[in-house]
Symmetry: C2
Subunit: 280 residues, 2 copies
């Protein structure tokens, strides 16, 4: 029985805006808050990961401002997205959380760690990179079109973006798609073009190379788990190495034959590593 697929979408109002979220799991220990990737909404979190997490803690899936069923205008900076995500966490009355940020959600998680360190117990950064990381100012010219193309159904876009070209990885991708399609009722609203444009601007701004752009990482003292695939075509894998090398207390895991969504491919293994990290 998947709580991920059966728990209703909930809403909370902050300063006149409405945030959509889902909250479920075992109400013990530190809750974990998940921050979503570019073009993803509440239905793009992976039930194979969130249901596993929910056995040992509360899991909170979030839509940032302007994403899915959350109202408001999406910020054009990671700083704005971090402020809004933190205001949602505050509105839920959570005093300390673990933060799990994937891709752009990882940018937001890092920024929250800088701005609101007391809010954060541990940090999980998957398929992501630091401010001004390697090749992060813009998508590779061969990768960018994958985000703009029309697919039928549209979620097929995640096969080339999250998975490697190998048969094994693509097969794992198709199973992943089945998982995120399984919720049949109360699905979230597609991400609007205006939000896509705002988040594109936020990603470009975050990724712009600048001297000393990694310096802030040394101030993030929380235990951090950094995970990626061997060849991430969206946020180059080298950036996960850079995160580990510059964060004072980070462990790095890189999976073989995988891309941006390695955790959707090596899911059981990822769950074991993640649970180990959260419970040690």
């Amino acid at each position: 029985m998947s709580m991920h697929n059966s728990e209703p979408t909930r809403f909370v109002n902050v300063d006149g805006a409405r945030f959509a979220y889902r909250r479920f799991g075992n109400p013990i220990g530190t809750p974990i808050v998940l921050l979503q990737h570019f073009m993803g909404n509440l239905d793009n979190y992976d039930p194979a990961i969130t249901d596993a997490l929910a056995r040992g803690r509360e899991v909170i899936l979030t839509d940032n401002t302007g994403v899915g069923a959350s109202t408001g205008t999406a910020p054009e900076t990671v700083a704005g997205m971090a402020r809004d995500a933190a205001s949602l966490i505050d509105a839920l009355g959570l005093e300390q959380v673990d933060l799990f940020g994937f891709s752009m959600g990882g940018y937001v998680a890092q920024q929250i760690a800088v701005d609101r360190p007391d809010l954060l117990r541990r940090l999980i950064l998957v398929g992501t990179g630091p401010r001004g990381g390697e090749g992060m100012a813009q998508l590779d010219p061969e990768v960018a079109p994958l985000f703009g193309k029309v697919y039928d159904p549209q979620d097929l876009m995640w096969l080339p973006i999250f998975f490697s070209p190998s048969d094994t990885s693509q097969a794992a991708g198709r199973v992943f798609l089945e998982r995120i399609r399984a919720r049949s009722e109360d699905r979230d609203v597609p991400v609007s073009e205006a939000t896509v444009a705002a988040h594109s601007a936020a990603a470009r701004d975050w990724g712009a190379a600048a001297p000393g752009s990694f310096d802030y990482l040394n101030g993030i003292r929380q235990p951090t788990l950094v995970v990626n695939g061997s060849n991430d075509i969206v946020v180059a894998t080298l950036n996960s190495y850079i995160l580990q090398q510059n964060l004072p207390n980070a462990e790095l895991i890189l999976f073989p034959d995988s891309n941006h969504g390695s955790h959707f491919q090596f899911t059981e293994q990822f769950n074991r590593y993640l649970t180990d990290f959260l419970e040690r």
Copy 2:
């Protein structure tokens, strides 16, 4: 009850030379053969790791030619060391093994994977690097003297070489030293100066940068686990990343606040990861 500390040293003769080894554990599944680091003998394997491994498989600790109680002249090339280690494995009647190489033992393990692929089921490469890796032609000028200094007792040399300068890491180092001192009888023979000189030459030869020096990695098809500390001062951590990026089926784990001997520091965690890797 530590088998590591109680099992006798054994010997096997190959072509007139005598290899020293220890063999213990649960005789099921694929045996694991451990290949030792520069200046280490049978007493430098960590009982916290080998006893844990021994619960699920046979563990074979090895001295290469000219090391400890093994007779013969130590080869001056990794190719020679790989040939000798493989001949020891053959002499023990083992048809397929997992290989665990630490540091120079990792060079030897890679070479065996190239020369004798059928002998190998899985590969574990800790604190090591590829042929011609980054900064591997010679030790850093600040690090080289750590290997030549006189310490009292001499095994204190491993504190700066294997552990980071932090209080936490150094404390873990002192516990590690207690572990490798615990075997009270039938200890191995110190590594001779002649063997140290031969192995230094082998390491310089392996580490010499050359165009295409990573190409062989693409031919190592075995599942491989690559592990290192965040700041390895002996074989720069970047080389572990290079291994993962060039091996077709490798997972990388980098631990925080650690050096060349991260597995001696994060031992419980390392054991969980290693068991998971061997049993999946």
